[in-house]
Symmetry: C2
């Protein structure tokens, strides 16, 4: 394998609400819902290695921010593309906290491995491979297709390209977030998702009738309560933001055009509270700050 | 109407090849084909005006690089959204030369007018409005959906979101171009397009079997010849690039990873030659230079 090194950037993705749609074929499985892609994301570098040196040196490996790690979906993507490689992930995003890092790792690996080993796949083919790997590993249902699109993706129909259907909220916003710890996506997705999915379908109907930022945030809060997913630290932060913004907190408006005043909600699925504009700062938190990302995952370098 | 001012950026779009697919419903009409979105694009600013002042001052108007202009699709988009506004277009792209300026104007107007007048449409709804306006005015068939997507869009099925289907070439490239003058899209699209469309379908089959830059450029050249669209100045430039790059010019390879060495072709439809990497410079031309654009059309400011 005489591949070159290639790097892809994949935006982070916060899911505001979702419904789960399992299916036999992983390309048909997925989720409906909506969220925000983030300028904070994951740089994924793929260095193809030849079989001999990999066997000798254990180079067929993955590092995440410099530490050895294992992500099943990444291994599956490499295997699907027939590429043996070192994969290096660098990110400022918290891990296991609802930012789609595993989806980003899978999608970035697909884009970078295709380029590095000159596999000649199209973008839809690469998204399908990464989406299928995430679904089969149970680590995500909708992050990959959202991260491939960018912006503020609305997953109208579940699944990979050719099956799923996407729309978007035509907006951009400053995004603030605070993470209190990890929450296992696998555990939630492996449990009974019927209540969650009914709440997600209701939230999607609301947003499609009014695809604007205040409705996105309000539908996300209602989803978190109906689906019984709120964790105490996040609920407390949501209350603090609501109290700081508007004691009645039933009058969500985007005061500054950057999303401010729309309140906070919980990233699905993570012990993470997020808000638009300056709502978390205004409530006295010291959040990480980024923006919605205008573009989907893209190759950023080859050498 | 108490709208604020809003601005959208829409990338330019060079079509490499296409087939025409007319239909009764403008959302179903469109084209198959492939091309490149460009970092050179159009900034579209929409300033809503109230009815009284518009009637008095003739403010319900459009300027293109500071000069008064008229673009039917822009008027139709404003009308569809029920917005009266001044529309200001600023672009470095040549006009009427195959860069999708009319599509960019329509799509940018849809995005900016929706934001300025807070119309609450989704991205797909706005793309559908702009695509329909372009199709009905006969000024384009595939630019709007390509410009909404960004990257190197492949139009697999024609039409607006919900009808059309897009894929992409997972690459980025430096793009060079030289324009020799205008060519009327309306005139070509109004004529017999059967030969053109057969050539376009053949080119698309080739590219889908090998979605890489060298095949995009080679399929574009073959399309230009088969569809009998080549204009003399462009043909001459294509020959010059081929001679400078490889006297045999049947061995297209991307030597530097930026598209160099893949030869030149004609922008559909314009008296414009374009090439990747440094192919036009290497042949002694003094081209305009930009890059493929990673993102689709986006709102960039509101005030």
């Amino acid at each position: 394998m005489n591949g070159k090194r290639a790097t892809a950037f994949v935006p982070g993705h916060v899911t505001a609400f979702f419904s789960a749609h399992p299916a036999e074929d992983p390309a048909e499985a997925g989720s409906r819902g909506a969220g925000l892609t983030l300028s904070d994301g994951v740089d994924v570098t793929v260095d193809p290695v030849d079989d001999a040196s990999a066997a000798d040196d254990g180079l067929d490996a993955l590092t995440l921010n410099g530490e050895s790690a294992s992500i099943g979906a990444v291994a599956d993507v490499l295997s699907a593309l027939g590429v043996r490689a070192r994969v290096t992930l660098e990110t400022d995003l918290p891990i296991g906290a609802g930012f789609g890092v595993s989806g980003a790792a899978a999608l970035g690996t697909a884009l970078a491995a295709n380029a590095a080993a000159d596999r000649g796949c199209s973008e839809n083919e690469l998204v399908t491979i990464a989406h299928g790997a995430e679904v089969e590993r149970g680590t995500g249902l909708g992050d990959v297709v959202a991260q491939a699109r960018g912006g503020l993706p609305v997953r109208v129909e579940p699944g990979a390209p050719g099956h799923g259907e996407l729309d978007g909220i035509p907006a951009h916003a400053r995004v603030e977030y605070v993470t209190f710890g990890e929450l296992s996506t696998e555990d939630v997705l492996a449990g009974d998702t019927s209540t969650l999915s009914a709440a997600g379908e209701h939230a999607l109907s609301r947003l499609r009738a009014d695809p604007r930022l205040p409705t996105l945030m309000d539908a996300s809060r209602e989803f978190a309560e109906r689906a019984d997913l709120l964790v105490p630290e996040v609920a407390e932060a949501m209350d603090a933001v609501a109290a700081a913004g508007d004691p009645g907190h039933d009058d969500s408006v985007d005061r500054a055009g950057d999303g401010s005043g729309t309140g906070a909600s919980m990233a699905m699925l993570g012990r993470t509270v997020f808000a638009l504009g300056t709502d978390l700062s205004d409530a006295g938190y010291d959040p990480a700050v980024c923006h919605t990302h205008p573009a989907g995952a893209r190759l950023i370098g080859e050498e």
